[in-house]
């Protein structure tokens, strides 16, 4: 069949191109613009090539922030994914309790980031916070303001509290779509509980798990508001993650050139790791 070729059809995608240009391409280009220029003030810029990129790539400060960030995302995924699956497996399947549990599970997801930060900031305070005070009363030496380990623990527990629901709800949706016949067949085949999980539930959850891992990775890798509210990146630089460091560089020090180069590298790192996750998790599916 001959397809008619009419190049004027390109005009039809023009509105979308304009929208995307304004919402993404042009802002990104201003960042690109900053990243290759330097200035001595008075709005006079001169070409700096890839100088800022080299600086950022060799910066110990950025390396340290990246290391903390990778560790944080790694811990978050290692806790939230298995915990979310475990919760989903134990949620009631139908009836009143299923609805109630769904609503309760969704609650943390509805709270804005800075409010979550504030809640935990107060919750963990040794003087007036329920958690901090109770721990102190029990004789636990806990202080997230002074102790890096306590600061990390607080932020991780906070993130787990905030986002495990998302993983659990996604997994729950995946589990609900498995027909009863699969479980019945497994009983007839005398499969163990582990076998049912490994050969029925996990494969059927693969699609939603991919989404959950990607969402939780990207979100945790970009985390800013909650640690900023709870610890402000401290004590010292202990919880200064990439985005906190970036904001310090861009707004605190007003180093727009390095910050722009940092942003682009940050973006590419997220893109790269997401791609790795996606490829790894869909590779199995493509096998004959």
């Amino acid at each position: 069949m001959d397809k008619p070729v009419n190049n004027r059809a390109w005009l039809l995608v023009l509105p979308v191109l304009v929208l995307v240009a304004f919402s993404a391409v042009i802002p990104l280009m201003t960042v690109v613009n900053y990243s290759v220029q330097d200035t001595f003030g008075r709005n006079q810029f001169f070409w700096n090539g890839l100088g800022w990129f080299e600086d950022v790539l060799h910066s110990d400060r950025v390396h340290a922030a990246l290391g903390r960030q990778l560790l944080f995302s790694g811990i978050i995924l290692a806790i939230e994914i298995p915990l979310g699956i475990f919760i989903a497996l134990n949620m009631p399947k139908r009836g009143f309790w299923a609805s109630l549990v769904l609503v309760l599970m969704a609650l943390p997801l509805l709270i804005p980031w800075n409010v979550v930060g504030t809640i935990w900031q107060v919750f963990g305070r040794v003087d007036i916070g329920l958690l901090g005070h109770t721990l102190a009363a029990l004789g636990v030496d806990y202080n997230y303001v002074n102790d890096p380990l306590d600061a990390w623990a607080t932020i991780i527990v906070m993130d787990v509290w905030h986002w495990t629901s998302l993983v659990a709800l996604l997994c729950y949706a995946g589990l609900q779509s498995i027909p009863d016949a699969y479980y019945q067949a497994a009983r007839i085949d005398q499969a163990s509980r582990w076998g049912v999980f490994r050969f029925i539930e996990l494969p059927k959850m693969r699609g939603v798990l991919l989404i959950a891992v990607l969402l939780r990775f990207m979100d945790s890798f970009m985390i800013y508001t909650e640690p900023f509210v709870v610890t402000g990146g401290g004590p010292g630089n202990a919880t200064t993650f990439l985005s906190i460091d970036l904001v310090k560089m861009a707004i605190g020090q007003f180093d727009l050139g390095p910050a722009a180069a940092f942003s682009l590298i940050y973006f590419l790192v997220i893109l790269l790791i997401s791609w790795v996750f996606y490829t790894a998790m869909t590779a199995e599916r493509e096998r004959p």
Binding site: A181, Y182, Q184, A185, R187, I188, A191, G195, P288
Partner: protein, 359 residues
Amino acid sequence: MARITLENLAHSYRPAPKTDDDWALKPMTLTWRDGGAYALLGSSGCGKSTLLNIISGLLHPTQGRVLFEDRDVTALPTAARDIAQVFQFPVVYDTMTVRQNLAFPLKNRCLPAAEIARRVQDVARMIGMEDALDRRARRLTADAKQKISLGRGMVRHEVNAILFDEPLTVIDPQMKWELRTQLKSLHREFGHTMIYVTHDQTEALTFADEVVVMSEGRVVQVGTPRSLFDAPAHTFVGYFIGSPGMNLLDAEVQGATAFVAGTTIPLGTAYAPPKGRVQIGIRPDAARPATEGLPFRLIRVEDVGHHRILRGEVAGAAFNVTVPEDEPIPASFDRVALDPARIGVFVDDWRLAPLERAA
């Protein structure tokens, strides 16, 4: 393999069943012969899947016992019953190959690896999937997946019975016929007791040696396809089996004569005076266009290939007559004649036995 007996079995999905309607399965006693090919036939929601799930142990009956030979298995879980079941939607383990799928039930039962390999090879030959053994199960067509489900049952030699719960629902029409034929030959060759649930009378009648017809949670008749057709025990069987179903007319019966709307019909044999709602039933192929007999008003003629169906009315009730394709239909007729030997008498929907045979 074993004979399966259901003893005074009944099931309700409600915690405290009171009225008749609360019972999904009304009390029944039934024996399934060892090595028989049975079909469990009935319309949707009549309790056939419930019955099947009770036999396989996926459901625990509210009352009654399930016996395999003389062993009471009512309280035993599914795994301990050695039952295979094939479901409506094909169940395969997606991440496994065909070989791993077939080996799974044996692995779970901790058989030695060599024995597993041997049996998997055997069963693959039976279901004709030797070439596909190392393929991933999830990529296969629905009929191949259904064969794997069956294979996972047959790979266990000690299996007592293979249950099928409408296994051909999602299979393409041309594959249906092929799979059904394959099932029959597997049954002939290996002699497993097979119970096949379906709402499709063609499937039931072609597959089974004996058909169990269910209606509203009750077993209304057990018999060979022929006897269901010739002597339905209940008007439901008469109506459900055959296409079109049996014609039913309200009648009065006195001895060997029936009266329908003022017309006298000879009945071949004599009956005791019936009490209740009396109907006579006649298969469409046992009636023919005539110049005397019951007044018949023709509404339309349908040509379905090997015969034609005359759809019409007798005394206000729908009445169908089939005429073989090589027989001409009279240009005008207003009556139908019935074959006396093939008229059945039903009282309150149940077949009434004639006098001399009842004695």
